[in-house]
Amino acid sequence: MDGSIVLETNALEIEGISKSFGANKVLLDLNLTLKRGEVHALMGENGAGKSTLIKIISGVHSADEGVIYLNGKKTGFQSPFEAQMGGVATLFQEIQEIPDLTVAENLYAGMEPRKNGIFIDWKKLFADAQRQIDELGLNIDASQKMRSLSPSSRKMIEIIRAVHKRGASVVIMDEPTANLNQSEIDALFSMIDGLKKNGVSIIYVSHRMREIFQVANRVSVLRDGRLIRTEAIENITEDEIVKLMVGRDLPALYPERTPPADTIAMSVRDLCVDGELDHVSFDVRDREILGIAGLEGSGATCVIKALFGLKSVKSGSIRIRNEDIAIVSPKRSIEQGLAYVPEDRKVDGLFLNKTVNFNLVANVLKSHFSHFRFVVKGRAAESTSRDVVKRLGIKTSGGRAKIGSLSGGNQQKALVGRWLIGSYKAILLEEPTRGVDIGAKVEIYEEINALARSGLPVVMYSSELLELIGMCDRVVVIRGGRVSGVLSGADLTEEKILEKAITD
């Protein structure tokens, strides 16, 4: 009964917010209401204005026009810290943490309990932190270093710090599940449930449609800096949301597949990696996209890395069209015709402070070297790169722009796109669309499909099962380092994959 009373007051009211960066109008007279205790999903393509809106609410940017009321009071935060102290906590995509300090210090950063007003009271610090963690039923030791925790535990600690320590009434979560596996996502969702019950309101930004339907009460769609529609989640469908986001009928998310040939293009035999993979074998047919699935710790993430030579492989062979591929090192793998898109583009995939041109031709540089083998043929590199940029619709101010300045979606396109240059025998992909909006996803899917159709065997790992189901002809499920099943056709469903991934 009293729950409904609480629900009637709004946690956040955003009225007439506008924001421009130079001539670029990012938000236009935007209104949004956040009810108390609701999870409000914010959706929109990259560039729709979501992140600018979040940044205005959380004090990173200030609005040109408009007012924000927090619990009925007008606010204007000047920094994320100020917002946090005022009751608005933001969980940005990157976990905000000091990895080499303890969990307790991260929780109490800046407000460590002190003795005599000078010295930190370590005993109290650890005890207080531990009690808070225990109260939430989490199995985390407060005296551990942050670095030693799993991604989800780190996210949990961040939430505890933001919400419980600072008493936030509004929590903004930007792609909170980006680096989490399914069980970690479940843990996060039950924590979100707990927050809702305590009257905390959550703005939830995610590209993952299924999550939105699982966790949100209402959804607002932004497009070109305007609020298009706010709707209770039960009154809207996935297709409708996508339509609202793009403002037109989107071609189906996943491309039409042509059935693969019966001839085997690539075979992997007895791939073994100590402690991770145990005699993994599979075949990839001509024009086939083969998926690799598995829970965290199953070894599924290791398959592609092992094939590309990033793991020390104990045994195993790759054969592509009657040609043996030696698994030695990434360099040798590229030389032998394997293309690889890594999971973490910022660490493994791109030279962020180099130009778009450099990044696109980085793996085929050899053919762009002059006779002396020392000097890059700048013009040739530029024209090759221009072709790729055009073909994939990469949004950049030019080939000489630093690739780090591009949006995540466009960086990912470049990462996939660079393999279009040069000739390869097989493509290995890890999480090819991580952190990318739907528009860019569709384009990347089409490229992958085109690569497969051109006759290249494609092996792809993704933690998004729907993506594997949508894209792949067959999915190899890994459990405990072994192949526990190969699914195709009508058997290729989320339930079947999970069944193979979990049960013996």
């Binding site: 946090q84 000091i98 990895p99 080499d100 800046g110 930190i120």
Partner: protein, 327 residues
């Protein structure tokens, strides 16, 4: 009431002591190993005056190393410390020769060092310069200032006897220089381990962006570590002047590298955010004891540095292999 609270806290959170990793205890183990090697290879090594000698000669680079540690923990580097030591050295000598009281002269010398540290801090924070570039520039500039102040010649005269006994005396039964060294480390330990300011230095070194979001005063913290480093470097210069009884324009040359070597061998990570005062103290001992052992065994000065360089490489290889294993 308070008693009830504490007992119930202890019951809900029975924490086992954290296990120390091998990387954390490695510096101490190396010190122990060096003590054994020293004892075995030379009869003179374990004599008390040799031990005091080691510590006394270590005082100047060690005090610089303490300041360097503050800077490095906050993900910076201070190459100017050698020149600032020289500044402290000739400033105190010049002021004493001009007849100023000892305390005033010492304070002024340390303040001068702090000023150069402040300049470093401002260049790096407000001027957004890379620490290595900013402090390289002040290193060169400050040395030039020293030569202007002294015309490049050592100052032999006018330094009072009372000033010399500050370091050479032994008020507590051990040489005062040793006491200064120990006090510097003790104070650093308390600050870095037991105050918010100290922990926030680690936070800034670990992730500046996050520290900002946590509401820490990142800019002030960064400036402050350079001021501390400058003041300690100048203090080392004062100690040098007291120990030798002269002002030497070449004082402190190369000390920045010695100080960096000491803390790095002690496990302080140059990329910031990691390292203990105890580790750094062990680093000081490792470098000083190793040098002493080589001297006692009549290894030539030229060859000594091969051992030092080799030791640094071995330690770094060890630390990086541990780090790889931990991840």
């Amino acid at each position: 009431m308070e008693n009830v609270m504490t007992t119930s806290l202890q019951r809900t959170a029975p924490r086992k002591p954290r296990r120390l990793s091998l990387a954390e205890v490695a510096p101490a183990l190396i010190v122990a190993a060096l003590l054994v090697i020293g004892t075995v290879t030379s009869d003179r090594f374990m004599q008390s005056n040799n031990i005091f000698n080691i510590l006394q000669y270590a005082a100047e680079p060690a005090i610089i190393a303490v300041g360097m540690m503050f800077v490095v923990l906050a993900r910076g580097i201070d190459l100017s410390v050698g020149s600032v030591m020289g500044i402290g050295n000739v400033t105190v000598a010049l002021l004493l020769a001009a007849g100023y009281p000892i305390t005033v002269s010492i304070m002024a010398a340390i303040a001068f060092g702090g000023l150069i540290g402040l300049i470093n801090g401002l260049l790096i924070t407000k001027g957004r310069m890379e620490p290595i570039i900013a402090t390289l520039a002040t290193m060169i500039g400050a040395r030039s200032v020293i030569y202007f102040m002294t015309d490049g010649a050592p100052l032999f005269s006018g330094i009072p006897r009372d000033f010399v006994t500050i370091v050479r005396g032994n008020a507590l039964g051990v040489p005062n220089g040793v006491v200064f060294l120990l006090v510097a480390f003790a104070v650093a330990y308390v600050i870095l381990r037991h105050t918010r300011y100290g922990r926030h230095i680690y936070a800034v070194g670990g992730s500046e962006e996050t520290a900002e979001l946590f509401g820490m005063k990142v800019t002030s913290i960064k400036i402050s570590v350079y001021v501390i480093s400058g003041m300690l470097a100048a203090t080392a210069g004062v100690i040098g002047a007291s120990r030798l009884g002269i002002g030497d324009p070449n004082s402190g040359i190369g000390y920045e590298l010695v100080a960096i070597t000491m803390i790095v061998v002690g496990g302080v990570r140059l990329a910031g955010g990691v390292g203990t005062v105890f580790g750094a103290f062990c680093g000081v001992l490792i470098v000083s004891i190793l040098t002493n052992i080589l001297q006692l065994n009549n290894v030539s000065t030229h060859a000594q540095h091969i051992f030092l360089g080799g030791g640094v490489i071995a330690m770094m290889l060890f630390l990086s292999s541990r780090e790889r294993r931990e991840h």
